[in-house]
Amino acid sequence: MGRNRSDSYGWITIALHWLVAVGVLSLFPLGLWMTSLTYYDPWYKDAPFIHKSMGVLLFIALCARLAWRLVSPVPAPLPSVSELERRVAGSVHKLLYALLFAVMLSGYLISTADGRPIEVFNWFELPATVHGLPNQEDYAGYAHLTLAIVLIVLVAAHALAALKHHFLDKDRTLLRMLGRPASGNQSGHESPTFPDQKGVLR
């Protein structure tokens, strides 16, 4: 079963987390690279096509992730994590979601600024909605790049925090998101039939 437990992540949350991570970490350099290409570069047309298509799919993955959070709430931070760290982590996670959506929205507003839809891998089209605002593509483009840079900085902070938990605090924060079962005897993975182990580990 893919549901999260009170002390561990289910595989659906883990898969969606890393899917979004891979998506963001490929879309950012792809976006920078594709805008630097010369006109006769063989990737001049395909790179933006892939960037936009992946962006739309990432949006779907992110929506699925949020929906899944509602269905199956994520586990609380480890008991060893301080109150301050919980608050900071919580704010960063919310900000990451907000920035992801803002970057996607601004990207969408560039490509659909003249009413053209976005082609997603010759698979389906995402229609334009808001278009024709004065200099929409320029403002949206500025927002897209700026917000993407802020997002990547925050992603780096998020990753460094995970590494800090792993190497300095030597706790299971990162291992939990990698789906590694706890080394202790009462891990959720080893007793899947118990619906809730709340209190056992604390």
């Binding site: 006109y39 006769y40 490509s111 600024a113 003249d114 278009h131 200099n135 593509e137 320029d138």
Partner: protein
Amino acid sequence: MKMSLRNTVLAVMLVGATSVAWADDYVIDTQGAHAFIQFKIAHLGYSWLLGRFNDFEGQFSYDEKNPDASTVKVTINTASLDTNHAERDKHLRSADFFDVSKYPTATFESTGFKENADGTAVLSGNLTLRGVTKAIDIDVKHVGHGEDPWGGYRRGFEGKTKIALKDFGIPYDLGPAASEAELFLSVEGIRK
């Protein structure tokens, strides 16, 4: 010899008054959009890409008795370029092409006008684009003039010229077929 301030003012007023009396001044009808600044550039050498500037203003003076004294001045809002594709327009506004945040306007100011007997003419002037000012010649055809149905008087010209992108410091390479852009100008003035 020193001229008194009063005499200087008088002289300036006199010169101003006579030039007004000689030539008719026209404001280019951008209000009613009877004026167009279009550009045309080869796409890979296989077809044409057309675009235009939607926002510009200008005026000209024209005297039938002395056409060679005609003058034109046009100011273009470079950010208003329009090739019917938002992403391309965004790219064209960037530093790769027009760099509109740094160079928000382009101007053309005439320096000479030579009219031929057949109604064609050559308009010389300075085009300032992307911060570079260069003298260009525009082949002009006098299209027509006369009263409009609403109580005004109009006069129109068309013009054609070619500019090389690199002459104005446009750094982006669109390929060997697209080193030059053609400009087509259609200008209707309403007499002041």
